[in-house]
């Protein structure tokens, strides 16, 4: 058989897939006709910066063929051997039972039978289900599409996702500058050019963009940070870990104790106030509430001036360093890079993380946020990018088979009951649970204050759990409780549908094999989310829309999610309602015709060619983020979801006052007495930090668990064995690929730990085995261990307190959330100890 080439798109870049005899033999960055690419040019000083005519993939995408053909793929429908829907169900054995292969007919009969039974007995609200945070690329198949459409039809209880990437920015920063439509991220338009032209320094605070890569745009921005070096722009890294971007850019490294970032931020404000080095005009005209904030910083409210000396004591950083940082920041045009998309960053996922995130916005406000060279920029988005051509992304309601107005029929879910992802195990095991916040609160600030209780009056507790994906042992908090949840008899039936065996897969009663996007057609644009990340494709050097071509027949007996749901729907007598009379190919065509693409390319040409590049126009005019606000104009950026844009309030931010709020009007209106997320930000010592008496003596190390460098969350790890040859990812020893834990030589010496030792990281919540990497790149007292191990490998399967060999460090992280009324996750407020593992 001859070799064939197909185009497809991954989470981190477009690819050309070479297939021979039903097997992928090679995956390259997508090969396109060079004539289709028109690289833009940024002129800054004597420099001319322009991207090359190719696409930069994230590393693990080069291992895609190992992942697709992995032995870890779920090949067949499976049934737990001691589960009998007509007899004994044995829920207590979930996690340790074996599985037997069954036919699709039998699997679909059981699943549809259980759905019918539960619905008839308890009502649709007794069904719940959820996906993981990410899926395989392509909007037709994307998790918000078929899964949501199917579940809405069943009238299920949805599980709201906590805004994991955004926590402190979502629950905190929105109350300083709005941007709730971006979940607390600032717009990033044209900030690459603005930085190269105007910035003198970048402070990267809790940000490793060379690792987190702005999420979906692969390594397109790695070159931009090389340009920043060439331009001579200085960098400062504030991080307990000398991260990979710090290594690449060789900037000044400042390592505060975890949990104390807001204190350092207060001290910087103190220096600016007392030395009169902040933009008084901007504060006067573009903000409100500064006086209250100033009083707190100067110590007039609590008798504690927030001096560098005070902060130095809290942070474990020399006061003169904090003072020098503040002075450098004020005396230069300084960009603040507070996380991968401008914000995000692990510092927002810790106790009272709202306060740090709010301070990030307020510090830049004090320096004139929006001034040339003074922005909040992640360094991963904001290339020159054409925004006239609308293409649906998974974040657009219009881009989902569940919600698009392009559909003939949309199932509407009447169930009002909700669950909260972080407390799902608690809700099952020990109801009731309650919280504030409607998940990703992208519609308004008020969504954050909506109160929920589970169970809700008039609805059933959940009896059937349909899980699509299986990553949570490595990504949620205090994850042993998920083991307990699955073993609860309250969950009468559990389904797991996935492409690969993951950490939760073998906790189900029935396992259904789904195929990847390489085994079916789909449609997508690189890094284009839309909705709460509008114009995410500005993280790429070109806009690339792909007709994602099926490269292989579904492997083994896997089927597309769409097909699986259609088959179940058929057995429920609801097939037409689910498919809307459309095949998957019909949906692709529908989305294509619903976009602006037909203005530029015909459907036939798009299918034949496999891609379409949207280049920047010759008359492109940059509109740098927040420059309009700084200059007192109307919003002129393409920020589509900004509700005030194109109205008479277009000169305002998304806050109640329309200005930056040092004292938050929205918090004052809804939670005026909340001392954990006060109206004006405070530094509040962590409830699991260096000052937590009774705990820190027992568990003296602070765990830092950022996003991994060589895996896309749990995608690729475990299923792509080539990654085990990269020692930053896993290190092979005694026939096992261990997850690294990094610690400082002083700490290693005290504990008698050497490089390459197997070590146990532990606290009251559990134990995880890792391999020790002794390095100077970690602050003493901190242990660095990436989150998102895809491998949950308990020494005693089925026991919730089992020691995990796979590296699921989230077993150790706390259940407690950001603060009383801000239900965000807090993995970076975690005390542990470490010892050499003799077993």
């Amino acid at each position: 058989m001859t070799e064939q080439v197909f185009n497809n798109l991954t989470n981190c870049g477009p690819v050309s897939v070479y297939v021979k005899d039903g097997e992928i033999v090679r995956v390259r960055p997508m090969v396109v006709d060079e004539k289709d690419l028109k690289p833009w040019v940024i002129e800054a000083g004597e420099h001319r910066f322009s991207p090359p005519k190719k696409f930069a993939l994230a590393p693990f995408v080069h291992g895609e063929r190992r992942r697709i053909h992995s032995e870890e793929r779920i090949g067949y429908p499976m049934k737990r051997v001691d589960f009998d829907p007509n007899g004994e169900r044995n829920p207590q054995n979930r996690g340790k039972s074996g599985y037997e292969r069954i036919s699709w007919d039998e699997a679909l009969d059981i699943v549809s039978g259980e759905i019918k039974r539960v619905k008839e007995t308890y009502g649709g609200s007794a069904i719940s289900g959820m996906t993981s945070s990410h899926h395989n690329w392509g909007i037709v198949g994307y998790k918000m599409g078929p899964f949501a459409r199917f579940m809405n039809m069943l009238e299920f209880t949805p599980v709201l996702d906590n805004p994991d990437s955004w926590e402190g920015w979502h629950w905190g920063a929105t109350h300083t500058y709005g941007f709730f439509w971006r979940l607390g991220m600032p717009e990033q338009y044209d900030l690459l050019e603005d930085t190269l032209k105007n910035a003198e320094m970048i402070v990267l605070w809790s940000n490793d963009p060379d690792t987190t890569r702005g999420t979906y745009s692969g390594q397109e921005s790695a070159l931009w940070r090389q340009w920043v070096k060439e331009k001579g722009i200085k960098t400062v890294f504030i991080d307990p870990f000398h991260n990979y971007t710090a290594g690449f850019m060789d900037g000044k490294w400042i390592a505060p104790r975890m949990g104390t970032d807001a204190a350092m931020a207060m001290a910087i404000a103190y220096v600016w106030i007392t030395e009169d080095t902040y933009d008084k005009d901007y504060v006067e005209n573009r903000t409100i509430g500064f006086d209250e904030f100033k009083k707190y910083v100067l110590g007039e409210t609590d008798s504690q001036p927030k001096t560098p000396e005070w902060a130095g004591e809290e942070c474990g950083v020399k006061p003169r360093i904090i003072r020098a940082l503040a002075r450098e920041w004020a005396s230069k045009r300084t960009v603040l890079s507070g996380g991968s998309r401008g914000g995000e960053g692990g510092a927002c996922r810790q106790a009272y993380g709202t306060e740090w995130a709010r301070m990030m916005v307020l510090l830049q406000a004090m320096q004139g946020l929006g001034k040339p060279g003074v922005s909040i920029w992640g360094t991963t988005m904001g290339a020159p990018s054409e925004t006239d051509t609308w293409v649906p992304g998974y974040g657009h309601l219009k881009g989902r088979v569940a919600t698009t107005d392009l559909a003939g029929y949309l199932p509407i879910n009447p169930t009002k009951q909700r669950l909260w992802r972080l407390t799902l195990p608690d809700a099952i095991l020990n109801p009731p649970v309650s919280w504030y916040g409607e998940g990703f609160c992208g519609q308004s600030l008020e969504q954050q204050f909506k109160h929920f209780e589970y169970p809700m009056e008039g609805y059933s507790e959940v009896k059937l759990f349909y899980r699509y994906g299986g990553s949570f042992m490595g990504t949620m908090s205090d994850t042993s409780k998920w083991v307990r949840m699955y073993q609860s008899p309250k969950l009468e039936f559990v389904v797991n549908q996935d492409c690969w065996y993951n950490s939760e897969t073998n906790m189900a009663d029935i396992i259904l094999p789904a195929c990847t996007n390489f085994e079916r057609n789909d449609f997508g644009e690189w890094a284009a989310v839309g909705g709460y990340t509008e114009h995410g494709s500005s993280g790429c050097n070109y806009r690339v829309v792909v007709y994602q071509q099926k490269c292989l027949e579904p492997l083994w007996e896997s089927k597309s999610d769409y097909q699986i749901f259609a088959l179940i729907a058929d057995r429920l007598g609801m097939e037409e309602q689910f498919t809307d009379g459309k095949t998957e190919e019909d949906w692709i065509k529908t989305f294509f015709h619903g976009s602006d693409l037909p203005k530029h390319i015909s459907w036939e040409d798009f299918v034949r060619k496999g891609y379409h590049i949207i280049n920047v126009n010759d008359d492109y005019k940059p509109t740098p983020s927040l420059r309009w606000f700084y200059e007192g104009r109307k919003c002129d950026t393409p920020d589509l979801q900004n509700p005030k844009r194109k109205t008479e309030k277009a000169g305002e931010l998304g806050t109640y006052s329309g200005k930056i709020e040092f004292s938050s009007e929205s918090l004052k209106a809804h939670f005026p007495d909340d001392d954990e997320r006060p109206v004006s930000p405070r530094y509040i010592p962590s409830w699991e930090g260096h000052r937590t008496e009774g705990l820190v003596e027992k568990y003296p190390f602070q765990l830092l668990s950022p996003h991994p460098r060589f895996s896309f969350h749990c995608h690729y790890d475990k299923h792509t064995d080539w990654l085990d040859d990269i020692p930053i990812h896993r290190i092979k020893k005694d026939g096992y690929a261990w997850w690294p834990a990094r610690l400082h030589p002083e700490d290693a010496a005290v504990k008698g730990i050497h490089n390459g030792d197997i070590v146990r990281l532990y606290n009251d919540r559990g134990s995880v085995l890792c391999i020790a990497v002794v390095t100077e790149r970690v602050r003493p007292g901190v242990i660095h261990c990436y989150a998102s191990s895809a491998k949950y490998d308990p020494l005693t399967p089925g026991k919730d307190d089992a020691v995990d060999m796979g590296g699921c460090i989230n077993i150790l992280t706390p259940s407690r959330m950001l603060s009383r009324n801000a239900p965000g996750m807090t993995p970076n407020s975690c005390l542990i100890d470490i010892e050499k593992w003799e077993g």
Binding site: Q219, Q226, Y244, G247, R323, E328, I728, E776, R777
Partner: protein, 278 residues
Amino acid sequence: MTRLGMLIDIDRCNGCYNCFLACRDEHYKNDYPPFSAAQPVSGQYWMQVREVERGSYPKPKLSYIPIPCMQCREAPCIDASKNGAVYRNESGIVIIDPEKAKGQKDIVKACPYRVIFWNEEKQIGQKCTFCAHHLDKGEKEPRCVEACPTGALIFGDLDDPQSDIAKQTASRKTEALHPEYDTNPTVRYIDLPKRFVAGEVVLKDKQDECARGVRVLLEGEGLRLETATDAFGDFEFEGLARNTRYRIAVEYGGYTPQQVDVFTQKDVNLGEIVLEPR
């Protein structure tokens, strides 16, 4: 004449391992006769990425050195081979013939860079071929170069004065990795990590301020460098020789100067140098 070479700019390498993974993808399970046989699933690193951590907390430095086959002009593997099993092709790429090289373990041992890997199953030595098969089909660069996001790997014809590699080789300071092996490698490097000396100056009577603008000198082995402390009181001398004695002198008006002797067996972090007021 075509003479294909590679120039690797260490300052541009971010240690992403794209090159290693792209190479593994190209060659795993893919035979490209007559240029190369398939790599096994693991254990061979035709493109190695070597991590180099230097210095100490809180001033560590991180570099990565990508190491392909050096495509030596005086290749020990060619000398060690029998029956023409290893040869240089018309573009200067050193090729191990997957058929002729069977059983010749000496080829593997001959390479001082250790970039040849023994395939036990196939009984041949294997290494980077600059993706000769790929170039042969008209592609312009090996997979590693295609995958590199920052342009750290510069590839092309050294004999073409218009090529990027020829221009950069002419205008920038390039060096071989381990020149003492005397194999005349075609792969050369820019900014290979050397030794650095770093420190922080503190004024004893002004410890709540960073000491900016303090003059720091380095002398030794014919070298004389001068710098001033930055806004954080930090100074650094980079690109120094290994295993060499240098003297650091710190001077600031109104303070007693200080001198420190250093020996660069490892990188040196002098920590705080405290100046006493006169």
